[in-house]
Symmetry: C2
Subunit: 187 residues, 2 copies
């Protein structure tokens, strides 16, 4: 950020009075431009004994497999966002949505919310952001070709819960260590 | 938003190619300025049979009671944000934090995450954004003087769970009806 989006003047990076963090502030109109984490919302969509994965048509991680998910939009609910992303990426409709997990990824300032849901009719096909979609059993999950750590962790928790006979709602954090490795902690 | 924060030129409100929503787009440097919901994170902090409430020193709802909560910052985890807000507003330290609820409030583009936690030592005092703090039993909760619907709903769910003998993780939506009334749905 270099310019004020309200008045067009150059912004400065300073700690505003009464604050304790650096913010972009406009010296002309005094607007403080706060920057906050973004929410990514998606789902584990179930059909019989299978779940829905999408192969990414876009960067990052083009060609790898993911759960349908994307940035939540203004003026939609978190749950509606997950359903919208699933429809956009996989032309699939959801029912019986329940919150499955919240993952916080501080180093990229993102919060991931994932729902567990059922497909309405088992129908799914590649949307514009997907190369392919598939309904897969546990033994068919391409663990070595998953796009994101948060997807892998959600799938692990899902099959853990399934094996234990009941689904919970999870909170976890994905932390980037000094060597670049990603560490996962669930609370 | 009137000006591009990258190059300072005027922005236009248009639907970018391949998108289906109006975005602020810069005609000079082509930056698309996405706007996304903000996360508010906070907690129900327990001490013996009481919980911590804060009386707001700032608008909106100055003078009314709330759970400690505030906007999550970049590069912090959702859980750490709740602990930070509790320390800022009530000089109180938390332990044993578990996710209690996610509430989506679409008409103001906010997602509220609330944790259930214990106070480390029962100590709490008003921070700069609070007029007062109090540790209150259920029969002392000022139900008619709560600042926000989402606070009221969290407290209702908390005491429901407590009475039932076990705490769950909840997802709910607060929806503004045409007459301005707020409707609550839990899923």
């Amino acid at each position: 950020m270099k310019f004020c989006s309200v008045c067009g003047e150059k912004v400065e990076l300073i700690i505003p009075e009464g604050d304790n963090r650096m913010r972009f502030v406009c010296g002309q109109c005094n607007t403080i431009h706060y920057q906050n984490p973004k929410v990514v919302t998606g789902c584990i969509a179930q059909w019989q004994d299978k779940i829905l994965l999408c192969r990414r048509a876009i960067e990052p991680k083009q060609g790898l497999w993911t759960l349908p998910a994307g940035f939540m939009e203004n003026e939609e609910s978190n749950r509606d966002g997950a359903a919208r992303e699933t429809f956009e990426e996989a032309n699939a409709r959801l029912t019986d949505m329940t919150l499955f997990s919240v993952f916080s990824i501080a180093h990229i300032s993102q919060v991931y919310t994932m729902y567990r849901a059922n497909l309405v009719d088992g129908e799914a096909s590649a949307g514009i952001e997907s190369l392919d979609v598939a309904l897969l059993s546990e033994n068919e999950i391409p663990w070595q070709q998953l796009a994101f750590k948060v997807v892998e962790e959600n799938l692990k928790l899902y099959y853990q819960d399934k094996a234990a006979g009941g689904f919970k709602t999870h909170y976890g954090e994905i932390i980037r260590l000094n060597d670049g490795q990603l560490n996962v902690e669930c609370f």
